[in-house]
Protein backbone atom coordinates (compact mmCIF):
# COMPACT_ATOMS: atom_id res chain seq x y z
CA UNK A 1 0.00 0.00 0.00
CA UNK A 2 1.62 3.29 -1.07
CA UNK A 3 0.82 5.36 2.01
CA UNK A 4 3.36 7.85 3.26
CA UNK A 5 3.68 10.64 5.73
CA UNK A 6 6.21 13.44 5.50
CA UNK A 7 7.46 16.16 7.81
CA UNK A 8 9.56 19.24 7.09
CA UNK A 9 8.41 19.41 3.45
CA UNK A 10 5.93 21.97 2.19
CA UNK A 11 4.11 23.21 -0.88
CA UNK A 12 5.18 26.85 -1.02
CA UNK A 13 3.53 28.32 -4.10
CA UNK A 14 1.66 27.62 -7.33
CA UNK A 15 0.83 29.40 -10.58
CA UNK A 16 -1.62 28.27 -13.27
CA UNK A 17 -1.54 29.71 -16.78
CA UNK A 18 -4.46 29.33 -19.21
CA UNK A 19 -4.58 30.19 -22.93
CA UNK A 20 -6.36 33.43 -23.90
CA UNK A 21 -8.94 31.75 -26.15
CA UNK A 22 -12.31 31.18 -24.44
CA UNK A 23 -15.05 28.95 -25.77
CA UNK A 24 -18.45 28.89 -24.13
CA UNK A 25 -20.98 26.05 -24.16
CA UNK A 26 -23.37 28.32 -26.07
CA UNK A 27 -20.98 28.14 -29.02
CA UNK A 28 -21.48 24.36 -29.06
CA UNK A 29 -25.18 24.68 -29.89
CA UNK A 30 -24.79 22.86 -33.22
CA UNK A 31 -23.25 19.90 -31.40
CA UNK A 32 -26.56 19.55 -29.54
CA UNK A 33 -28.66 19.87 -32.70
CA UNK A 34 -29.59 23.48 -31.96
CA UNK A 35 -31.25 22.39 -28.69
CA UNK A 36 -30.87 25.38 -26.33
CA UNK A 37 -32.68 23.49 -23.57
CA UNK A 38 -30.00 20.80 -23.62
CA UNK A 39 -27.32 23.48 -23.21
CA UNK A 40 -29.19 24.86 -20.20
CA UNK A 41 -29.42 21.36 -18.77
CA UNK A 42 -25.67 20.80 -19.11
CA UNK A 43 -24.97 24.13 -17.46
CA UNK A 44 -27.34 23.39 -14.62
CA UNK A 45 -26.45 19.75 -14.02
CA UNK A 46 -22.72 19.53 -14.81
CA UNK A 47 -21.76 23.18 -14.30
CA UNK A 48 -20.32 23.46 -17.83
CA UNK A 49 -19.86 27.07 -18.86
CA UNK A 50 -16.58 28.29 -20.39
CA UNK A 51 -13.35 26.50 -21.20
CA UNK A 52 -9.90 27.57 -22.36
CA UNK A 53 -8.43 26.46 -25.67
CA UNK A 54 -4.82 26.64 -26.76
CA UNK A 55 -4.23 27.85 -30.31
CA UNK A 56 -2.43 25.44 -32.65
CA UNK A 57 1.01 26.89 -32.07
CA UNK A 58 0.68 26.85 -28.26
CA UNK A 59 1.62 23.65 -26.41
CA UNK A 60 1.38 22.65 -22.78
CA UNK A 61 5.14 23.16 -22.47
CA UNK A 62 4.61 26.84 -23.35
CA UNK A 63 1.88 27.22 -20.70
CA UNK A 64 3.94 25.48 -18.01
CA UNK A 65 7.12 27.37 -18.90
CA UNK A 66 5.34 30.68 -18.37
CA UNK A 67 3.78 29.43 -15.13
CA UNK A 68 7.23 28.33 -13.91
CA UNK A 69 8.84 31.67 -14.81
CA UNK A 70 6.17 33.61 -12.89
CA UNK A 71 6.42 31.26 -9.91
CA UNK A 72 10.24 31.40 -9.69
CA UNK A 73 10.13 35.16 -10.01
CA UNK A 74 7.45 35.54 -7.30
CA UNK A 75 9.25 33.18 -4.92
CA UNK A 76 12.60 34.73 -5.75
CA UNK A 77 14.15 31.36 -6.56
CA UNK A 78 16.92 31.04 -9.14
CA UNK A 79 16.41 28.22 -11.70
CA UNK A 80 19.88 26.91 -10.77
CA UNK A 81 18.55 26.25 -7.24
CA UNK A 82 16.15 23.54 -8.45
CA UNK A 83 17.14 20.00 -7.51
CA UNK A 84 14.34 18.32 -9.41
CA UNK A 85 11.73 18.89 -12.13
CA UNK A 86 8.68 16.63 -12.38
CA UNK A 87 6.38 17.26 -15.33
CA UNK A 88 2.98 15.55 -15.36
CA UNK A 89 1.59 15.39 -18.88
CA UNK A 90 0.17 13.08 -21.51
CA UNK A 91 0.44 15.70 -24.24
CA UNK A 92 4.21 16.35 -24.40
CA UNK A 93 5.86 18.26 -27.25
CA UNK A 94 7.64 15.11 -28.43
CA UNK A 95 7.55 11.40 -27.62
CA UNK A 96 11.18 12.03 -26.66
CA UNK A 97 12.90 13.87 -25.05
CA UNK A 98 10.60 14.54 -22.12
CA UNK A 99 8.89 17.85 -21.42
CA UNK A 100 10.78 18.03 -18.11
CA UNK A 101 14.14 18.13 -19.87
CA UNK A 102 12.86 20.65 -22.43
CA UNK A 103 11.63 22.88 -19.62
CA UNK A 104 14.97 22.44 -17.83
CA UNK A 105 16.69 23.80 -20.93
CA UNK A 106 14.27 26.68 -21.38
CA UNK A 107 14.65 27.81 -17.76
CA UNK A 108 18.45 27.39 -17.97
CA UNK A 109 18.59 25.28 -14.82
CA UNK A 110 21.83 23.87 -13.47
CA UNK A 111 23.00 20.43 -14.60
CA UNK A 112 22.83 19.05 -11.06
CA UNK A 113 19.07 18.64 -11.39
CA UNK A 114 16.95 15.53 -11.96
CA UNK A 115 14.18 15.95 -14.55
CA UNK A 116 11.51 13.49 -15.65
CA UNK A 117 7.95 13.29 -16.93
CA UNK A 118 5.12 11.56 -15.10
CA UNK A 119 2.72 9.97 -17.60
CA UNK A 120 -0.59 10.49 -15.84
CA UNK A 121 -3.71 12.62 -16.31
CA UNK A 122 -6.22 13.76 -13.72
CA UNK A 123 -4.59 11.88 -10.83
CA UNK A 124 -1.10 13.07 -11.79
CA UNK A 125 -0.73 16.23 -9.74
CA UNK A 126 -1.03 14.31 -6.46
CA UNK A 127 1.37 11.64 -7.76
CA UNK A 128 3.98 14.25 -8.64
CA UNK A 129 3.60 15.90 -5.23
CA UNK A 130 4.10 12.49 -3.62
CA UNK A 131 7.32 12.04 -5.62
CA UNK A 132 8.50 15.56 -4.81
CA UNK A 133 7.85 15.08 -1.08
CA UNK A 134 9.65 11.70 -1.22
CA UNK A 135 12.67 13.08 -3.08
CA UNK A 136 13.08 15.92 -0.58
CA UNK A 137 12.49 13.67 2.46
CA UNK A 138 14.95 11.01 1.39
CA UNK A 139 18.05 13.03 0.66
CA UNK A 140 19.71 16.34 0.15
CA UNK A 141 17.25 17.88 -2.34
CA UNK A 142 15.82 21.18 -1.18
CA UNK A 143 13.50 22.22 -4.02
CA UNK A 144 11.47 20.31 -6.58
CA UNK A 145 9.38 22.03 -9.22
CA UNK A 146 6.17 20.23 -10.24
CA UNK A 147 4.61 21.05 -13.60
CA UNK A 148 1.22 19.65 -14.50
CA UNK A 149 -1.09 20.04 -17.47
CA UNK A 150 -2.31 18.93 -20.86
CA UNK A 151 -3.71 20.36 -24.06
CA UNK A 152 -6.63 17.96 -24.37
CA UNK A 153 -8.43 20.27 -26.80
CA UNK A 154 -6.11 18.77 -29.46
CA UNK A 155 -7.35 15.27 -28.64
CA UNK A 156 -11.11 15.66 -28.37
CA UNK A 157 -13.25 15.38 -31.48
CA UNK A 158 -15.49 18.45 -31.80
CA UNK A 159 -18.48 16.21 -32.61
CA UNK A 160 -18.12 13.96 -29.58
CA UNK A 161 -20.65 15.15 -26.98
CA UNK A 162 -19.06 12.89 -24.35
CA UNK A 163 -15.90 15.02 -24.30
CA UNK A 164 -16.10 18.12 -26.54
CA UNK A 165 -17.76 20.57 -24.14
CA UNK A 166 -15.98 19.24 -21.07
CA UNK A 167 -12.22 19.60 -21.48
CA UNK A 168 -9.99 22.67 -21.52
CA UNK A 169 -6.27 23.48 -21.58
CA UNK A 170 -4.02 24.76 -18.78
CA UNK A 171 -0.49 24.49 -17.42
CA UNK A 172 0.61 24.83 -13.81
CA UNK A 173 3.85 25.16 -11.85
CA UNK A 174 4.03 24.31 -8.14
CA UNK A 175 7.00 24.56 -5.79
CA UNK A 176 7.74 21.95 -3.13
CA UNK A 177 10.50 22.81 -0.65
CA UNK A 178 12.26 21.58 2.43
CA UNK A 179 10.87 23.62 5.33
CA UNK A 180 11.86 22.76 8.87
CA UNK A 181 8.82 22.89 11.12
CA UNK A 182 6.32 22.38 8.28
CA UNK A 183 3.39 20.30 9.49
CA UNK A 184 2.79 16.67 8.57
CA UNK A 185 1.48 15.64 5.14
CA UNK A 186 -0.09 12.29 4.31
CA UNK A 187 -0.49 10.51 0.96
CA UNK A 188 -2.33 7.42 -0.29
CA UNK A 189 -2.33 6.29 -3.91
CA UNK A 190 -3.88 3.54 -6.00
CA UNK A 191 -4.45 2.10 -9.46
CA UNK A 192 -6.98 -0.10 -11.25
CA UNK A 193 -5.57 -0.89 -14.68
CA UNK A 194 -8.57 -3.08 -15.46
CA UNK A 195 -10.40 0.15 -16.20
CA UNK A 196 -7.87 1.35 -18.78
CA UNK A 197 -10.40 1.17 -21.63
CA UNK A 198 -12.79 3.68 -20.14
CA UNK A 199 -10.50 6.69 -20.81
CA UNK A 200 -8.11 6.14 -23.69
CA UNK A 201 -6.55 7.56 -26.84
CA UNK A 202 -6.33 4.30 -28.81
CA UNK A 203 -3.99 5.36 -31.65
CA UNK A 204 -0.67 7.15 -31.94
CA UNK A 205 1.49 4.97 -29.69
CA UNK A 206 3.43 1.79 -30.45
CA UNK A 207 0.37 -0.46 -30.16
CA UNK A 208 -1.58 1.29 -32.92
CA UNK A 209 0.49 3.83 -34.88
CA UNK A 210 -1.27 6.59 -36.85
CA UNK A 211 -2.57 5.38 -40.20
CA UNK A 212 -5.33 6.17 -42.71
CA UNK A 213 -7.51 3.75 -40.76
CA UNK A 214 -6.97 5.46 -37.39
CA UNK A 215 -7.86 8.84 -38.95
CA UNK A 216 -11.25 7.59 -40.13
CA UNK A 217 -14.28 8.98 -38.35
CA UNK A 218 -16.79 6.60 -36.83
CA UNK A 219 -20.08 7.13 -35.05
CA UNK A 220 -20.95 5.35 -31.79
CA UNK A 221 -24.37 4.15 -30.54
CA UNK A 222 -25.16 7.59 -29.16
CA UNK A 223 -24.35 9.31 -32.46
CA UNK A 224 -21.04 10.75 -31.23
CA UNK A 225 -18.31 11.06 -33.83
CA UNK A 226 -14.60 10.49 -33.24
CA UNK A 227 -11.53 8.72 -34.64
CA UNK A 228 -9.13 6.34 -32.90
CA UNK A 229 -6.72 9.27 -32.62
CA UNK A 230 -9.17 11.09 -30.33
CA UNK A 231 -9.71 10.83 -26.61
CA UNK A 232 -12.48 8.35 -25.87
CA UNK A 233 -14.32 8.52 -22.56
CA UNK A 234 -16.97 6.16 -21.24
CA UNK A 235 -18.58 8.83 -19.07
CA UNK A 236 -20.80 6.48 -17.15
CA UNK A 237 -17.95 4.07 -16.24
CA UNK A 238 -15.76 6.97 -15.15
CA UNK A 239 -18.59 8.45 -13.09
CA UNK A 240 -19.23 5.12 -11.35
CA UNK A 241 -15.52 4.64 -10.66
CA UNK A 242 -15.25 8.11 -9.16
CA UNK A 243 -18.22 7.94 -6.81
CA UNK A 244 -17.28 4.43 -5.72
CA UNK A 245 -13.53 4.87 -5.17
CA UNK A 246 -12.88 8.51 -4.29
CA UNK A 247 -15.08 8.93 -1.16
CA UNK A 248 -13.77 5.62 0.18
CA UNK A 249 -10.15 6.61 -0.47
CA UNK A 250 -10.51 10.05 1.11
CA UNK A 251 -12.03 8.37 4.21
CA UNK A 252 -9.08 5.94 4.28
CA UNK A 253 -6.59 8.79 3.96
CA UNK A 254 -8.15 10.65 6.89
CA UNK A 255 -8.18 7.42 8.94
CA UNK A 256 -4.48 6.95 8.16
CA UNK A 257 -3.76 10.56 9.20
CA UNK A 258 -6.13 10.24 12.17
CA UNK A 259 -7.69 13.57 11.22
CA UNK A 260 -11.45 14.14 11.29
CA UNK A 261 -13.39 15.48 8.31
CA UNK A 262 -14.36 18.48 10.43
CA UNK A 263 -10.71 19.49 10.79
CA UNK A 264 -10.22 19.69 7.03
CA UNK A 265 -10.63 23.24 5.74
CA UNK A 266 -10.92 22.41 2.03
CA UNK A 267 -11.40 19.35 -0.11
CA UNK A 268 -9.85 20.25 -3.45
CA UNK A 269 -10.95 17.55 -5.86
CA UNK A 270 -9.97 17.12 -9.48
CA UNK A 271 -12.39 19.43 -11.29
CA UNK A 272 -13.98 16.74 -13.47
CA UNK A 273 -17.28 18.63 -13.44
CA UNK A 274 -19.49 20.17 -10.74
CA UNK A 275 -21.83 17.18 -10.58
CA UNK A 276 -18.97 14.80 -9.87
CA UNK A 277 -17.36 17.02 -7.22
CA UNK A 278 -20.67 17.60 -5.43
CA UNK A 279 -21.60 13.94 -5.54
CA UNK A 280 -18.31 12.91 -3.97
CA UNK A 281 -18.92 15.61 -1.34
CA UNK A 282 -22.42 14.30 -0.63
CA UNK A 283 -21.09 10.78 -0.10
CA UNK A 284 -18.48 12.10 2.32
CA UNK A 285 -21.31 13.89 4.14
CA UNK A 286 -19.33 17.12 4.22
CA UNK A 287 -20.93 20.52 3.52
CA UNK A 288 -20.32 21.38 -0.12
CA UNK A 289 -18.99 24.85 0.73
CA UNK A 290 -15.63 23.24 1.48
CA UNK A 291 -15.41 21.82 -2.08
CA UNK A 292 -14.17 24.44 -4.56
CA UNK A 293 -15.67 23.88 -8.00
CA UNK A 294 -15.83 27.30 -9.70
CA UNK A 295 -12.68 26.84 -11.78
CA UNK A 296 -14.41 24.08 -13.75
CA UNK A 297 -16.89 26.59 -15.19
CA UNK A 298 -14.04 28.97 -16.10
CA UNK A 299 -11.34 26.64 -17.45
CA UNK A 300 -13.15 23.34 -18.18
CA UNK A 301 -11.76 20.02 -17.00
CA UNK A 302 -8.05 20.74 -17.37
CA UNK A 303 -6.67 17.29 -16.52
CA UNK A 304 -3.68 17.31 -14.14
CA UNK A 305 -3.73 21.13 -13.91
CA UNK A 306 -7.20 21.14 -12.39
CA UNK A 307 -6.16 20.88 -8.72
CA UNK A 308 -3.56 23.69 -8.85
CA UNK A 309 -6.05 25.58 -11.06
CA UNK A 310 -8.76 25.25 -8.40
CA UNK A 311 -6.35 26.30 -5.65
CA UNK A 312 -5.35 29.49 -7.45
CA UNK A 313 -8.78 30.34 -8.89
CA UNK A 314 -10.77 29.92 -5.72
CA UNK A 315 -8.54 29.64 -2.65
CA UNK A 316 -5.84 32.28 -3.19
CA UNK A 317 -7.39 34.56 -0.54
CA UNK A 318 -7.38 32.16 2.39
CA UNK A 319 -4.25 30.18 1.45
CA UNK A 320 -2.01 33.22 1.04
CA UNK A 321 -3.47 34.89 4.13
CA UNK A 322 -4.62 37.87 2.06
CA UNK A 323 -8.23 37.47 3.15
CA UNK A 324 -7.17 37.21 6.81
CA UNK A 325 -8.10 34.22 8.94
CA UNK A 326 -5.74 31.50 10.05
CA UNK A 327 -2.17 31.18 8.87
CA UNK A 328 -2.29 27.42 8.32
CA UNK A 329 -4.91 25.23 6.66
CA UNK A 330 -5.54 21.52 6.40
CA UNK A 331 -6.27 20.75 2.76
CA UNK A 332 -7.20 17.47 1.09
CA UNK A 333 -6.18 17.17 -2.56
CA UNK A 334 -7.79 14.40 -4.60
CA UNK A 335 -6.88 13.40 -8.15
CA UNK A 336 -8.58 10.58 -10.06
CA UNK A 337 -8.95 9.55 -13.68
CA UNK A 338 -7.21 7.95 -16.64
CA UNK A 339 -5.48 4.67 -15.78
CA UNK A 340 -7.63 4.24 -13.87
CA UNK A 341 -5.56 5.91 -11.20
CA UNK A 342 -6.09 7.92 -8.04
CA UNK A 343 -4.05 9.79 -5.46
CA UNK A 344 -5.16 11.61 -2.33
CA UNK A 345 -3.19 13.68 0.12
CA UNK A 346 -3.76 15.77 3.22
CA UNK A 347 -1.42 18.74 3.37
CA UNK A 348 -0.76 21.31 6.02
CA UNK A 349 -0.58 24.51 4.00
CA UNK A 350 0.99 27.51 5.72
CA UNK A 351 0.40 30.90 4.12
CA UNK A 352 1.72 30.68 0.57
CA UNK A 353 3.94 33.38 -0.88
CA UNK A 354 2.39 32.94 -4.30
CA UNK A 355 -0.90 31.44 -5.47
CA UNK A 356 -2.36 32.86 -8.66
CA UNK A 357 -3.63 32.20 -12.16
CA UNK A 358 -2.91 34.19 -15.28
CA UNK A 359 -3.69 34.28 -18.96
CA UNK A 360 -0.81 33.30 -21.25
CA UNK A 361 1.05 36.20 -22.85
CA UNK A 362 3.09 35.55 -25.98
Amino acid sequence: MPANQFVDVSLTGSVTVVPPKIRSIEEDVDLYGGNIRQIERLKKTLGINERRFASNELTNLDLCTQAAQILLDQLNIDPSDLDGILYVTQTPDHSQPSNATLLHGRLKCGTDCAALDVGLGCSGFVYALWLAYSIISNGSSQRVLVLAGDTLSRLVHPKDRATASLFGDAGSATMVEKRMGAGVSWFRLGTDGRGSDSLIVPAGGARLPFSNETAEEYSDDDGNIRTKENLFMDGSEVFNFSIEVVPREIEALLDYADVSKDSVDYFVLHQANRYMVHNIGKRLKVDLGRFPVESFGAFGNVSSASIPGALSYELAGPLTGESGGKSSHQVVLSGFGVGLSWGNCLLTVSNLDCLEWRVYKS
Partner: protein
Amino acid sequence: MEFNRFIQQFEESLDGLETGSLTGTTAFKGLKEWDSLAILTLTDTIDLEYGVLLKKTEIESCDTVQSLFDLIQSKV
Protein backbone atom coordinates in the same frame (compact mmCIF):
# COMPACT_ATOMS: atom_id res chain seq x y z
CA MET B 1 -38.11 -0.67 -1.30
CA GLU B 2 -41.38 0.94 -2.15
CA PHE B 3 -42.42 0.91 -5.77
CA ASN B 4 -44.30 4.24 -5.81
CA ARG B 5 -41.38 6.04 -4.26
CA PHE B 6 -39.04 4.51 -6.84
CA ILE B 7 -41.32 5.69 -9.68
CA GLN B 8 -41.23 9.19 -8.23
CA GLN B 9 -37.40 9.14 -8.01
CA PHE B 10 -37.18 7.84 -11.56
CA GLU B 11 -39.41 10.67 -12.80
CA GLU B 12 -37.32 13.26 -10.98
CA SER B 13 -34.15 11.92 -12.61
CA LEU B 14 -35.56 12.47 -16.09
CA ASP B 15 -35.46 16.20 -16.69
CA GLY B 16 -38.69 17.52 -18.19
CA LEU B 17 -40.74 14.38 -17.57
CA GLU B 18 -44.20 15.05 -16.16
CA THR B 19 -45.12 13.61 -12.78
CA GLY B 20 -47.36 10.58 -13.11
CA SER B 21 -46.25 9.70 -16.62
CA LEU B 22 -44.37 6.54 -15.67
CA THR B 23 -45.86 3.16 -14.77
CA GLY B 24 -44.30 -0.24 -14.16
CA THR B 25 -44.72 -1.20 -17.81
CA THR B 26 -43.19 1.95 -19.30
CA ALA B 27 -40.40 1.12 -21.77
CA PHE B 28 -38.21 3.93 -20.46
CA LYS B 29 -35.44 3.63 -23.06
CA GLY B 30 -37.89 4.86 -25.69
CA LEU B 31 -38.65 8.11 -23.85
CA LYS B 32 -37.35 11.26 -25.48
CA GLU B 33 -35.98 12.36 -22.09
CA TRP B 34 -33.80 9.23 -21.89
CA ASP B 35 -30.18 10.20 -22.61
CA SER B 36 -26.71 9.92 -21.08
CA LEU B 37 -27.36 12.72 -18.60
CA ALA B 38 -30.55 10.96 -17.47
CA ILE B 39 -28.59 7.72 -17.00
CA LEU B 40 -26.02 9.58 -14.90
CA THR B 41 -28.67 11.17 -12.70
CA LEU B 42 -30.57 7.91 -12.28
CA THR B 43 -27.37 5.96 -11.47
CA ASP B 44 -26.56 8.53 -8.81
CA THR B 45 -30.07 8.51 -7.31
CA ILE B 46 -30.18 4.70 -7.10
CA ASP B 47 -26.74 4.61 -5.46
CA LEU B 48 -27.61 7.29 -2.90
CA GLU B 49 -31.10 5.90 -2.10
CA TYR B 50 -30.48 2.16 -2.18
CA GLY B 51 -26.69 1.78 -2.03
CA VAL B 52 -26.66 -0.06 -5.35
CA LEU B 53 -24.23 1.21 -7.98
CA LEU B 54 -25.47 -0.02 -11.36
CA LYS B 55 -23.49 0.01 -14.59
CA LYS B 56 -25.02 1.71 -17.61
CA THR B 57 -25.22 -1.69 -19.33
CA GLU B 58 -27.14 -3.12 -16.37
CA ILE B 59 -29.68 -0.30 -16.45
CA GLU B 60 -30.07 -0.66 -20.19
CA SER B 61 -30.54 -4.41 -19.92
CA CYS B 62 -33.92 -3.65 -18.35
CA ASP B 63 -36.89 -3.05 -20.65
CA THR B 64 -39.40 -1.63 -18.21
CA VAL B 65 -39.46 0.43 -15.03
CA GLN B 66 -40.66 -2.69 -13.19
CA SER B 67 -37.70 -4.78 -14.38
CA LEU B 68 -35.24 -2.10 -13.25
CA PHE B 69 -37.01 -2.00 -9.88
CA ASP B 70 -36.66 -5.79 -9.64
CA LEU B 71 -32.98 -5.62 -10.54
CA ILE B 72 -32.27 -3.09 -7.80
CA GLN B 73 -34.29 -5.09 -5.30
CA SER B 74 -32.26 -8.21 -6.08
CA LYS B 75 -29.08 -6.28 -5.21
CA VAL B 76 -30.17 -4.34 -2.13
